[in-house]
Protein backbone atom coordinates (compact mmCIF):
# COMPACT_ATOMS: atom_id res chain seq x y z
CA UNK A 1 0.00 0.00 0.00
CA UNK A 2 2.68 2.40 1.01
CA UNK A 3 4.70 1.44 -1.98
CA UNK A 4 1.74 2.05 -4.30
CA UNK A 5 1.15 5.46 -2.77
CA UNK A 6 4.76 6.36 -3.28
CA UNK A 7 4.52 5.33 -6.89
CA UNK A 8 1.40 7.41 -7.46
CA UNK A 9 3.09 10.38 -5.85
CA UNK A 10 6.09 9.89 -8.09
CA UNK A 11 3.94 9.74 -11.20
CA UNK A 12 2.01 12.83 -10.16
CA UNK A 13 5.26 14.72 -9.59
CA UNK A 14 6.49 13.75 -13.05
CA UNK A 15 3.26 14.44 -14.94
CA UNK A 16 2.07 17.62 -13.34
CA UNK A 17 4.88 19.90 -14.51
CA UNK A 18 4.65 18.38 -18.00
CA UNK A 19 0.93 19.04 -18.16
CA UNK A 20 1.47 22.50 -16.82
CA UNK A 21 4.14 23.14 -19.40
CA UNK A 22 1.78 21.91 -22.08
CA UNK A 23 -1.06 24.14 -21.04
CA UNK A 24 1.43 26.99 -20.83
CA UNK A 25 2.52 26.23 -24.36
CA UNK A 26 -1.07 26.19 -25.58
CA UNK A 27 -1.69 29.53 -23.89
CA UNK A 28 1.40 30.97 -25.56
CA UNK A 29 0.22 29.51 -28.85
CA UNK A 30 -3.18 31.09 -28.42
CA UNK A 31 -1.56 34.45 -27.88
CA UNK A 32 0.57 34.03 -31.00
CA UNK A 33 -2.50 32.88 -32.92
CA UNK A 34 -4.34 36.02 -31.93
CA UNK A 35 -1.41 38.11 -33.05
CA UNK A 36 -0.61 36.50 -36.41
CA UNK A 37 -3.39 34.18 -37.59
CA UNK A 38 -6.70 35.50 -36.31
CA UNK A 39 -7.45 37.94 -39.13
CA UNK A 40 -7.80 35.11 -41.64
CA UNK A 41 -8.51 31.97 -39.65
CA UNK A 42 -10.95 33.58 -37.24
CA UNK A 43 -11.54 33.23 -33.52
CA UNK A 44 -10.71 29.74 -32.24
CA UNK A 45 -9.55 28.86 -35.75
CA UNK A 46 -13.14 28.60 -36.99
CA UNK A 47 -12.23 30.04 -40.38
CA UNK A 48 -13.54 33.09 -42.21
CA UNK A 49 -15.44 32.72 -45.45
CA UNK A 50 -14.95 35.34 -48.18
CA UNK A 51 -15.39 38.25 -48.56
CA UNK A 52 -13.97 38.16 -45.01
CA UNK A 53 -13.31 40.87 -42.51
CA UNK A 54 -11.39 43.10 -44.88
CA UNK A 55 -8.02 41.73 -43.85
CA UNK A 56 -8.51 38.35 -45.42
CA UNK A 57 -10.22 35.00 -45.21
CA UNK A 58 -9.10 31.46 -44.67
CA UNK A 59 -10.19 27.91 -43.94
CA UNK A 60 -11.16 26.55 -40.56
CA UNK A 61 -8.31 24.99 -38.59
CA UNK A 62 -10.50 22.94 -36.28
CA UNK A 63 -9.67 19.29 -36.76
CA UNK A 64 -6.64 19.78 -39.02
CA UNK A 65 -4.51 18.71 -36.07
CA UNK A 66 -0.84 19.15 -35.32
CA UNK A 67 0.02 17.63 -38.70
CA UNK A 68 -1.20 20.52 -40.85
CA UNK A 69 0.01 23.25 -38.47
CA UNK A 70 3.47 21.69 -38.32
CA UNK A 71 3.62 21.47 -42.11
CA UNK A 72 2.44 24.98 -42.91
CA UNK A 73 4.53 26.70 -40.24
CA UNK A 74 7.82 24.81 -40.67
CA UNK A 75 7.83 25.18 -44.47
CA UNK A 76 7.13 28.89 -44.20
CA UNK A 77 3.90 28.39 -46.21
CA UNK A 78 2.14 30.39 -43.51
CA UNK A 79 1.81 33.26 -42.87
CA UNK A 80 0.69 33.97 -46.41
CA UNK A 81 1.95 37.17 -47.99
CA UNK A 82 -1.29 37.98 -49.81
CA UNK A 83 -4.50 36.05 -49.48
CA UNK A 84 -5.47 34.60 -52.85
CA UNK A 85 -1.96 33.37 -53.50
CA UNK A 86 -0.36 29.93 -53.59
CA UNK A 87 1.62 29.29 -50.38
CA UNK A 88 5.33 29.03 -51.19
CA UNK A 89 8.29 27.85 -49.17
CA UNK A 90 9.77 30.96 -47.59
CA UNK A 91 11.82 32.26 -44.68
CA UNK A 92 10.48 31.25 -41.27
CA UNK A 93 9.17 34.29 -39.43
CA UNK A 94 8.65 32.55 -36.10
CA UNK A 95 11.17 30.91 -33.81
CA UNK A 96 11.02 27.10 -33.43
CA UNK A 97 9.67 27.56 -29.89
CA UNK A 98 6.86 29.80 -31.13
CA UNK A 99 6.03 27.30 -33.87
CA UNK A 100 5.83 24.51 -31.24
CA UNK A 101 3.42 26.65 -29.26
CA UNK A 102 1.23 27.41 -32.28
CA UNK A 103 1.20 23.74 -33.31
CA UNK A 104 0.14 22.78 -29.78
CA UNK A 105 -2.60 25.40 -29.85
CA UNK A 106 -3.99 24.32 -33.26
CA UNK A 107 -3.88 20.69 -32.12
CA UNK A 108 -5.85 21.64 -29.01
CA UNK A 109 -8.71 23.18 -31.06
CA UNK A 110 -10.23 19.83 -31.96
CA UNK A 111 -8.99 16.30 -32.25
CA UNK A 112 -6.98 15.84 -35.45
CA UNK A 113 -4.10 13.88 -36.91
CA UNK A 114 -0.78 14.00 -35.08
CA UNK A 115 2.56 14.85 -36.66
CA UNK A 116 3.66 11.76 -38.62
CA UNK A 117 6.99 10.10 -38.01
CA UNK A 118 8.23 8.59 -41.27
CA UNK A 119 11.06 6.04 -41.35
CA UNK A 120 12.44 6.21 -44.90
CA UNK A 121 15.13 3.66 -44.01
CA UNK A 122 12.34 1.07 -43.61
CA UNK A 123 10.87 1.83 -47.03
CA UNK A 124 11.79 0.30 -50.35
CA UNK A 125 13.42 2.50 -52.97
CA UNK A 126 11.95 0.52 -55.87
CA UNK A 127 8.44 0.63 -54.44
CA UNK A 128 8.93 4.33 -53.72
CA UNK A 129 9.85 5.04 -57.32
CA UNK A 130 6.81 3.14 -58.57
CA UNK A 131 4.51 4.97 -56.16
CA UNK A 132 6.09 8.29 -57.03
CA UNK A 133 5.65 7.77 -60.78
CA UNK A 134 2.06 6.60 -60.18
CA UNK A 135 0.89 9.35 -57.86
CA UNK A 136 3.32 12.29 -57.83
CA UNK A 137 5.41 12.60 -60.98
CA UNK A 138 2.49 13.89 -63.04
CA UNK A 139 3.00 17.25 -61.39
CA UNK A 140 6.30 17.04 -59.46
CA UNK A 141 8.26 15.38 -62.34
CA UNK A 142 9.93 12.03 -61.98
CA UNK A 143 13.02 13.39 -60.21
CA UNK A 144 10.86 15.52 -57.89
CA UNK A 145 12.20 18.70 -59.46
CA UNK A 146 8.79 20.35 -59.51
CA UNK A 147 6.62 21.48 -62.40
CA UNK A 148 3.58 23.43 -63.44
CA UNK A 149 -0.09 22.93 -63.92
CA UNK A 150 -2.56 25.56 -65.01
CA UNK A 151 -3.09 28.02 -62.20
CA UNK A 152 -0.55 26.56 -59.79
CA UNK A 153 3.08 25.53 -59.31
CA UNK A 154 4.08 22.06 -58.14
CA UNK A 155 7.11 22.84 -55.97
CA UNK A 156 10.45 21.10 -56.22
CA UNK A 157 10.90 18.63 -53.37
CA UNK A 158 14.64 19.17 -52.97
CA UNK A 159 14.18 21.04 -49.67
CA UNK A 160 11.27 18.98 -48.36
CA UNK A 161 12.17 16.99 -45.27
CA UNK A 162 10.90 13.46 -44.72
CA UNK A 163 8.34 14.70 -42.22
CA UNK A 164 7.11 17.47 -44.52
CA UNK A 165 6.58 14.98 -47.37
CA UNK A 166 4.64 12.65 -45.07
CA UNK A 167 2.51 15.60 -43.96
CA UNK A 168 1.89 17.01 -47.44
CA UNK A 169 0.68 13.60 -48.69
CA UNK A 170 -2.06 13.61 -46.06
CA UNK A 171 -3.00 17.31 -46.38
CA UNK A 172 -2.84 17.91 -50.11
CA UNK A 173 -1.75 21.54 -49.79
CA UNK A 174 -3.23 24.07 -52.24
CA UNK A 175 -4.42 22.09 -55.28
CA UNK A 176 -2.51 18.87 -54.59
CA UNK A 177 -4.66 15.74 -54.30
CA UNK A 178 -5.00 14.25 -50.84
CA UNK A 179 -3.99 10.69 -50.02
CA UNK A 180 -5.59 8.96 -47.07
CA UNK A 181 -4.06 5.98 -45.29
CA UNK A 182 -6.28 3.79 -47.48
CA UNK A 183 -4.66 5.22 -50.60
CA UNK A 184 -1.09 5.28 -49.27
CA UNK A 185 -0.24 3.31 -46.15
CA UNK A 186 2.39 4.71 -43.74
CA UNK A 187 4.80 2.09 -45.04
CA UNK A 188 4.20 3.24 -48.61
CA UNK A 189 4.86 6.80 -47.48
CA UNK A 190 8.17 5.57 -46.02
CA UNK A 191 9.05 4.19 -49.45
CA UNK A 192 7.96 7.42 -51.15
CA UNK A 193 10.11 9.50 -48.81
CA UNK A 194 13.04 7.19 -49.43
CA UNK A 195 12.69 7.71 -53.16
CA UNK A 196 12.38 11.49 -52.75
CA UNK A 197 15.54 11.51 -50.61
CA UNK A 198 17.26 9.50 -53.35
CA UNK A 199 15.99 11.86 -56.06
CA UNK A 200 17.76 14.76 -54.36
CA UNK A 201 21.07 13.20 -55.41
CA UNK A 202 20.37 10.68 -58.19
CA UNK A 203 23.31 8.93 -59.81
CA UNK A 204 23.53 10.08 -63.40
CA UNK A 205 24.07 6.90 -65.33
CA UNK A 206 23.96 8.80 -68.60
CA UNK A 207 27.16 10.66 -67.72
CA UNK A 208 27.19 14.42 -67.87
CA UNK A 209 24.00 15.65 -66.19
CA UNK A 210 24.34 19.38 -67.06
CA UNK A 211 22.28 20.30 -64.05
CA UNK A 212 19.44 17.93 -65.11
CA UNK A 213 17.82 20.85 -66.88
CA UNK A 214 15.87 18.74 -69.32
CA UNK A 215 15.98 17.45 -72.86
CA UNK A 216 15.88 20.77 -74.70
CA UNK A 217 19.11 22.23 -73.24
CA UNK A 218 20.70 18.78 -73.52
CA UNK A 219 19.75 18.79 -77.18
CA UNK A 220 21.22 22.26 -77.58
CA UNK A 221 24.51 21.05 -76.11
CA UNK A 222 24.47 18.16 -78.56
CA UNK A 223 23.80 20.56 -81.41
CA UNK A 224 26.63 22.79 -80.25
CA UNK A 225 29.12 19.90 -80.08
CA UNK A 226 27.85 18.34 -83.30
CA UNK A 227 27.94 21.61 -85.23
CA UNK A 228 31.49 22.36 -84.03
CA UNK A 229 32.60 18.89 -85.10
CA UNK A 230 31.01 19.36 -88.51
CA UNK A 231 32.73 22.71 -88.98
CA UNK A 232 36.03 21.07 -87.99
CA UNK A 233 35.51 18.30 -90.53
CA UNK A 234 34.69 20.87 -93.20
CA UNK A 235 37.92 22.75 -92.47
CA UNK A 236 39.98 19.55 -92.71
CA UNK A 237 38.35 18.55 -95.99
CA UNK A 238 38.75 22.04 -97.39
CA UNK A 239 42.49 22.05 -96.59
CA UNK A 240 43.10 18.76 -98.32
CA UNK A 241 41.31 19.96 -101.44
CA UNK A 242 43.23 23.22 -101.70
CA UNK A 243 46.51 21.35 -101.29
CA UNK A 244 45.65 18.76 -103.87
Amino acid sequence: MRRRLALALLVACAVAPAAAAQSGQVAHGKELFGRYCLSCHGANGAGIQPPGTGKGYGPSLQGVGALAADFYLRTGYMPLRRVPEQPRRSRLLLSPGDIDALVAYVASLASGPAVPDPHPEQGSLAEGQKLFTDHCSGCHQVVAAGGYLTGAVAPSLDRATARQVAEAVRIGPYVMPRFTEKDLSPHQVDSLVRYIEYAKHPDDRGGWAIGRVGPVPEGLVTWFLGASTLVGVCIVIGKRLSRG
Binding site: P50, P59, L149, I171, G172, M176, R178, T180
Partner: protein, 330 residues
Protein backbone atom coordinates in the same frame (compact mmCIF):
# COMPACT_ATOMS: atom_id res chain seq x y z
CA UNK B 1 -8.37 14.39 -109.10
CA UNK B 2 -8.57 15.09 -112.84
CA UNK B 3 -6.10 17.90 -112.50
CA UNK B 4 -3.62 15.65 -110.72
CA UNK B 5 -3.89 13.10 -113.51
CA UNK B 6 -3.32 15.80 -116.13
CA UNK B 7 -0.21 16.92 -114.27
CA UNK B 8 1.05 13.35 -114.06
CA UNK B 9 0.52 12.69 -117.77
CA UNK B 10 2.08 15.94 -118.91
CA UNK B 11 5.05 15.32 -116.60
CA UNK B 12 5.55 11.84 -118.05
CA UNK B 13 5.30 13.15 -121.62
CA UNK B 14 7.87 15.85 -120.89
CA UNK B 15 10.23 13.32 -119.36
CA UNK B 16 9.96 10.87 -122.23
CA UNK B 17 10.27 13.64 -124.80
CA UNK B 18 13.48 14.90 -123.24
CA UNK B 19 15.04 11.50 -123.12
CA UNK B 20 14.29 10.82 -126.77
CA UNK B 21 15.82 14.12 -127.83
CA UNK B 22 19.03 13.42 -125.98
CA UNK B 23 19.79 10.01 -127.41
CA UNK B 24 19.99 10.65 -131.07
CA UNK B 25 21.08 7.88 -133.33
CA UNK B 26 23.27 9.92 -135.61
CA UNK B 27 25.47 11.37 -132.92
CA UNK B 28 26.59 8.00 -131.75
CA UNK B 29 28.42 7.38 -134.98
CA UNK B 30 30.21 10.69 -135.02
CA UNK B 31 32.41 9.95 -132.01
CA UNK B 32 35.57 11.96 -132.44
CA UNK B 33 37.82 10.91 -129.60
CA UNK B 34 38.43 7.42 -128.30
CA UNK B 35 36.76 6.82 -124.98
CA UNK B 36 38.74 7.40 -121.86
CA UNK B 37 40.17 4.19 -120.33
CA UNK B 38 37.26 2.70 -118.46
CA UNK B 39 37.58 2.50 -114.73
CA UNK B 40 35.32 -0.49 -114.40
CA UNK B 41 36.07 -1.30 -110.80
CA UNK B 42 35.21 2.18 -109.61
CA UNK B 43 32.16 2.25 -111.81
CA UNK B 44 30.84 -1.01 -110.43
CA UNK B 45 31.65 0.13 -106.90
CA UNK B 46 29.70 3.36 -107.38
CA UNK B 47 26.75 1.50 -108.85
CA UNK B 48 26.88 -1.06 -106.08
CA UNK B 49 26.97 1.66 -103.42
CA UNK B 50 24.06 3.49 -104.97
CA UNK B 51 22.00 0.32 -105.13
CA UNK B 52 22.93 -0.48 -101.53
CA UNK B 53 21.73 2.99 -100.56
CA UNK B 54 18.45 2.37 -102.40
CA UNK B 55 18.10 -1.00 -100.67
CA UNK B 56 18.62 0.60 -97.25
CA UNK B 57 16.01 3.26 -98.01
CA UNK B 58 13.56 0.53 -99.05
CA UNK B 59 14.42 -1.30 -95.83
CA UNK B 60 13.47 1.88 -93.93
CA UNK B 61 10.04 1.85 -95.56
CA UNK B 62 9.61 -1.84 -94.73
CA UNK B 63 10.70 -1.36 -91.11
CA UNK B 64 8.35 1.60 -90.83
CA UNK B 65 5.47 -0.50 -92.05
CA UNK B 66 6.23 -3.44 -89.71
CA UNK B 67 5.59 -2.10 -86.24
CA UNK B 68 6.23 -5.29 -84.32
CA UNK B 69 10.00 -5.54 -84.90
CA UNK B 70 12.17 -5.47 -81.78
CA UNK B 71 14.32 -2.35 -81.61
CA UNK B 72 12.03 -0.64 -84.08
CA UNK B 73 13.40 2.88 -83.57
CA UNK B 74 17.01 1.76 -83.75
CA UNK B 75 16.37 -0.16 -86.96
CA UNK B 76 14.68 2.89 -88.48
CA UNK B 77 17.67 5.05 -87.63
CA UNK B 78 20.14 2.44 -88.82
CA UNK B 79 18.47 1.90 -92.20
CA UNK B 80 18.07 5.59 -93.02
CA UNK B 81 21.57 6.37 -91.74
CA UNK B 82 23.10 3.60 -93.86
CA UNK B 83 21.15 4.81 -96.90
CA UNK B 84 22.74 8.25 -96.56
CA UNK B 85 26.18 6.75 -95.83
CA UNK B 86 26.10 4.59 -98.96
CA UNK B 87 24.91 7.55 -101.02
CA UNK B 88 27.74 9.68 -99.66
CA UNK B 89 30.29 6.93 -100.35
CA UNK B 90 28.98 6.53 -103.91
CA UNK B 91 29.25 10.27 -104.54
CA UNK B 92 32.79 10.29 -103.17
CA UNK B 93 33.81 7.38 -105.42
CA UNK B 94 32.17 9.05 -108.41
CA UNK B 95 33.76 12.39 -107.71
CA UNK B 96 37.24 11.01 -107.07
CA UNK B 97 37.55 8.30 -109.68
CA UNK B 98 34.91 8.67 -112.40
CA UNK B 99 34.38 12.31 -113.24
CA UNK B 100 37.21 13.48 -115.49
CA UNK B 101 39.27 16.18 -113.82
CA UNK B 102 40.92 18.50 -116.29
CA UNK B 103 42.51 21.76 -115.56
CA UNK B 104 42.59 24.56 -118.07
CA UNK B 105 46.05 26.06 -118.18
CA UNK B 106 45.80 28.62 -120.97
CA UNK B 107 43.39 31.39 -121.47
CA UNK B 108 40.39 30.73 -123.58
CA UNK B 109 41.39 31.19 -127.18
CA UNK B 110 39.76 33.81 -129.31
CA UNK B 111 36.64 32.67 -130.97
CA UNK B 112 38.39 31.72 -134.18
CA UNK B 113 38.21 27.94 -134.17
CA UNK B 114 34.49 27.52 -134.15
CA UNK B 115 34.69 24.02 -135.50
CA UNK B 116 37.21 22.92 -132.87
CA UNK B 117 35.14 24.39 -130.10
CA UNK B 118 32.17 22.41 -131.19
CA UNK B 119 34.44 19.40 -131.18
CA UNK B 120 35.40 20.06 -127.55
CA UNK B 121 31.79 20.37 -126.55
CA UNK B 122 31.12 17.07 -128.20
CA UNK B 123 34.11 15.48 -126.49
CA UNK B 124 32.82 16.58 -123.11
CA UNK B 125 29.37 15.37 -123.92
CA UNK B 126 30.63 12.03 -125.09
CA UNK B 127 33.13 11.31 -122.38
CA UNK B 128 31.47 8.87 -120.09
CA UNK B 129 28.20 8.88 -121.90
CA UNK B 130 27.74 5.14 -121.73
CA UNK B 131 28.61 4.68 -118.08
CA UNK B 132 26.80 7.87 -117.28
CA UNK B 133 23.46 6.27 -118.00
CA UNK B 134 24.16 3.35 -115.74
CA UNK B 135 25.35 5.67 -112.99
CA UNK B 136 22.46 8.03 -113.43
CA UNK B 137 20.07 5.12 -113.26
CA UNK B 138 21.60 3.92 -110.01
CA UNK B 139 21.62 7.47 -108.66
CA UNK B 140 17.95 7.87 -109.55
CA UNK B 141 17.15 4.59 -107.82
CA UNK B 142 19.01 5.69 -104.70
CA UNK B 143 17.56 9.21 -104.72
CA UNK B 144 14.07 7.95 -105.41
CA UNK B 145 14.21 5.34 -102.67
CA UNK B 146 15.58 7.83 -100.13
CA UNK B 147 12.93 10.34 -101.16
CA UNK B 148 10.23 7.74 -100.68
CA UNK B 149 11.72 6.78 -97.31
CA UNK B 150 11.60 10.40 -96.23
CA UNK B 151 7.97 10.67 -97.29
CA UNK B 152 6.94 7.44 -95.50
CA UNK B 153 6.43 9.07 -92.08
CA UNK B 154 3.58 11.07 -93.65
CA UNK B 155 1.57 7.89 -93.13
CA UNK B 156 1.67 8.65 -89.41
CA UNK B 157 -0.43 11.78 -89.85
CA UNK B 158 -3.41 9.53 -89.52
CA UNK B 159 -5.56 7.07 -91.32
CA UNK B 160 -7.37 8.32 -94.38
CA UNK B 161 -10.26 5.92 -94.59
CA UNK B 162 -10.27 3.18 -91.97
CA UNK B 163 -11.43 5.10 -88.90
CA UNK B 164 -14.27 2.86 -87.74
CA UNK B 165 -12.05 1.32 -85.05
CA UNK B 166 -11.70 4.77 -83.45
CA UNK B 167 -15.33 4.65 -82.45
CA UNK B 168 -14.98 1.26 -80.80
CA UNK B 169 -14.49 1.10 -77.02
CA UNK B 170 -14.44 -1.77 -74.54
CA UNK B 171 -17.08 -0.04 -72.40
CA UNK B 172 -20.68 -1.12 -72.32
CA UNK B 173 -23.56 -1.23 -69.89
CA UNK B 174 -22.82 -3.32 -66.80
CA UNK B 175 -19.04 -3.54 -67.19
CA UNK B 176 -17.32 -3.17 -63.84
CA UNK B 177 -14.56 -0.66 -63.17
CA UNK B 178 -11.35 -2.25 -61.88
CA UNK B 179 -8.00 -0.85 -60.79
CA UNK B 180 -4.68 -1.67 -62.43
CA UNK B 181 -4.47 -4.97 -60.55
CA UNK B 182 -7.96 -6.01 -61.63
CA UNK B 183 -9.61 -5.34 -58.28
CA UNK B 184 -13.12 -3.89 -58.72
CA UNK B 185 -13.70 -0.41 -57.36
CA UNK B 186 -16.41 0.16 -54.80
CA UNK B 187 -18.09 3.55 -54.79
CA UNK B 188 -16.89 3.92 -51.21
CA UNK B 189 -13.24 3.51 -52.34
CA UNK B 190 -13.36 6.80 -54.22
CA UNK B 191 -12.38 9.60 -51.88
CA UNK B 192 -12.81 13.27 -52.49
CA UNK B 193 -9.71 15.28 -53.52
CA UNK B 194 -7.92 12.21 -54.86
CA UNK B 195 -8.07 10.73 -58.34
CA UNK B 196 -8.04 7.15 -59.54
CA UNK B 197 -7.34 5.32 -62.78
CA UNK B 198 -9.83 2.61 -63.70
CA UNK B 199 -10.06 0.02 -66.47
CA UNK B 200 -12.92 -2.09 -67.86
CA UNK B 201 -13.02 -5.51 -66.21
CA UNK B 202 -11.61 -8.23 -68.43
CA UNK B 203 -10.65 -5.94 -71.31
CA UNK B 204 -7.29 -5.02 -72.75
CA UNK B 205 -5.75 -2.29 -70.58
CA UNK B 206 -3.61 -1.13 -73.49
CA UNK B 207 -6.67 -0.28 -75.54
CA UNK B 208 -6.83 3.43 -76.21
CA UNK B 209 -10.38 3.70 -74.88
CA UNK B 210 -9.79 1.61 -71.74
CA UNK B 211 -8.27 3.90 -69.09
CA UNK B 212 -10.62 6.06 -67.06
CA UNK B 213 -10.13 8.88 -64.60
CA UNK B 214 -12.31 8.70 -61.52
CA UNK B 215 -12.83 11.65 -59.20
CA UNK B 216 -15.37 12.41 -56.55
CA UNK B 217 -16.74 15.94 -56.30
CA UNK B 218 -19.08 17.40 -53.73
CA UNK B 219 -22.56 16.85 -55.20
CA UNK B 220 -23.53 20.48 -54.64
CA UNK B 221 -20.57 21.58 -56.79
CA UNK B 222 -21.54 19.34 -59.72
CA UNK B 223 -22.97 21.33 -62.64
CA UNK B 224 -23.24 18.70 -65.35
CA UNK B 225 -24.61 19.91 -68.70
CA UNK B 226 -28.09 18.55 -69.60
CA UNK B 227 -26.69 15.90 -71.98
CA UNK B 228 -24.56 14.49 -69.15
CA UNK B 229 -27.23 14.67 -66.49
CA UNK B 230 -27.23 11.59 -64.30
CA UNK B 231 -23.79 10.42 -65.47
CA UNK B 232 -22.45 10.57 -61.90
CA UNK B 233 -22.91 8.29 -58.93
CA UNK B 234 -23.15 10.34 -55.77
CA UNK B 235 -20.63 12.86 -57.10
CA UNK B 236 -18.28 10.28 -58.65
CA UNK B 237 -17.59 11.14 -62.28
CA UNK B 238 -15.60 9.15 -64.85
CA UNK B 239 -13.77 10.46 -67.92
CA UNK B 240 -11.49 8.99 -70.55
CA UNK B 241 -7.89 9.40 -69.40
CA UNK B 242 -6.77 10.21 -72.95
CA UNK B 243 -6.56 13.91 -73.77
CA UNK B 244 -8.62 14.97 -76.77
CA UNK B 245 -5.79 17.15 -78.05
CA UNK B 246 -2.77 14.92 -78.68
CA UNK B 247 -3.68 11.70 -76.92
CA UNK B 248 -1.49 12.03 -73.82
CA UNK B 249 -2.57 10.48 -70.53
CA UNK B 250 -4.08 13.05 -68.20
CA UNK B 251 -2.10 12.72 -64.98
CA UNK B 252 -2.62 16.04 -63.23
CA UNK B 253 -5.56 16.69 -60.97
CA UNK B 254 -6.14 20.04 -59.35
CA UNK B 255 -7.91 19.36 -56.04
CA UNK B 256 -8.29 22.62 -54.13
CA UNK B 257 -8.02 22.46 -50.36
CA UNK B 258 -9.91 25.69 -49.75
CA UNK B 259 -12.16 26.61 -52.66
CA UNK B 260 -12.55 30.36 -52.16
CA UNK B 261 -8.94 31.31 -52.88
CA UNK B 262 -7.73 28.40 -54.97
CA UNK B 263 -8.40 27.45 -58.61
CA UNK B 264 -11.38 25.08 -58.97
CA UNK B 265 -10.96 21.32 -59.49
CA UNK B 266 -9.58 20.49 -62.93
CA UNK B 267 -8.07 17.64 -64.88
CA UNK B 268 -4.88 18.84 -66.56
CA UNK B 269 -2.94 17.16 -69.33
CA UNK B 270 0.82 17.41 -68.73
CA UNK B 271 1.73 17.63 -72.42
CA UNK B 272 0.21 20.97 -73.43
CA UNK B 273 -1.78 21.93 -70.35
CA UNK B 274 -5.22 21.34 -71.72
CA UNK B 275 -7.45 21.82 -68.70
CA UNK B 276 -10.85 20.17 -68.29
CA UNK B 277 -13.53 20.92 -65.73
CA UNK B 278 -14.83 17.65 -64.23
CA UNK B 279 -17.74 19.39 -62.53
CA UNK B 280 -19.11 20.56 -65.91
CA UNK B 281 -18.83 17.24 -67.72
CA UNK B 282 -15.23 17.65 -68.83
CA UNK B 283 -15.53 20.90 -70.80
CA UNK B 284 -12.28 22.57 -71.86
CA UNK B 285 -11.40 25.56 -69.70
CA UNK B 286 -7.87 26.17 -70.97
CA UNK B 287 -5.38 24.91 -73.51
CA UNK B 288 -5.30 23.54 -77.02
CA UNK B 289 -7.84 20.71 -76.70
CA UNK B 290 -10.62 21.22 -79.20
CA UNK B 291 -13.44 19.27 -77.58
CA UNK B 292 -14.58 18.06 -74.20
CA UNK B 293 -13.24 14.99 -72.44
CA UNK B 294 -15.37 11.91 -73.17
CA UNK B 295 -17.50 11.16 -70.11
CA UNK B 296 -18.70 7.69 -69.09
CA UNK B 297 -22.09 7.27 -67.38
CA UNK B 298 -21.79 5.33 -64.11
CA UNK B 299 -24.05 3.34 -61.86
CA UNK B 300 -23.53 1.26 -58.78
CA UNK B 301 -24.70 -2.32 -58.25
CA UNK B 302 -26.36 -3.76 -55.15
CA UNK B 303 -23.03 -4.75 -53.58
CA UNK B 304 -21.59 -1.28 -54.09
CA UNK B 305 -19.29 -1.88 -57.06
CA UNK B 306 -19.01 0.77 -59.76
CA UNK B 307 -20.36 -0.15 -63.21
CA UNK B 308 -20.53 1.58 -66.56
CA UNK B 309 -24.08 2.48 -67.51
CA UNK B 310 -23.32 2.78 -71.21
CA UNK B 311 -20.61 4.07 -73.49
CA UNK B 312 -18.73 7.37 -73.69
CA UNK B 313 -20.65 10.40 -74.88
CA UNK B 314 -17.82 11.34 -77.30
CA UNK B 315 -15.23 9.42 -79.33
CA UNK B 316 -12.06 8.81 -77.32
CA UNK B 317 -8.66 10.25 -78.13
CA UNK B 318 -7.32 13.02 -80.34
CA UNK B 319 -9.70 14.44 -82.91
CA UNK B 320 -9.68 13.40 -86.55
CA UNK B 321 -11.68 14.45 -89.56
CA UNK B 322 -14.74 12.37 -88.75
CA UNK B 323 -14.78 12.74 -85.00
CA UNK B 324 -18.26 14.24 -84.87
CA UNK B 325 -19.86 11.86 -87.38
CA UNK B 326 -20.69 8.93 -85.12
CA UNK B 327 -21.15 7.94 -81.51
CA UNK B 328 -18.79 5.46 -79.83
CA UNK B 329 -19.82 1.83 -80.12
CA UNK B 330 -18.89 -1.32 -78.27
Amino acid sequence: MGKARDFLISGLVLLLGRRRRRVRRGERERVVVPEAPRNEGAELLAVFLLLASAACAVAFIVVYAVDSLPGHTQLLGLSLGLAFCFLAAALIVTGQRLVPNEELEDKYPEREHEAEQELVVQVIEESGLTRRRLLLGALAASGGAIGLALLTPLASFGPALRVSRFYRTPWSRGRRLVDEHGKPYRASDIEQDNFYTAFPEGADKEDFASPLLLVRLPTDRLQLPPENAGYDVDGIVAFSKICTHAGCAITLYRAPLFQPNEPPPALVCPCHYSTFDPSRGGTVTFGPAGRKLPMLPLEVDRVGFLLARGNFDEPVGPSWWGVRLKEPTT
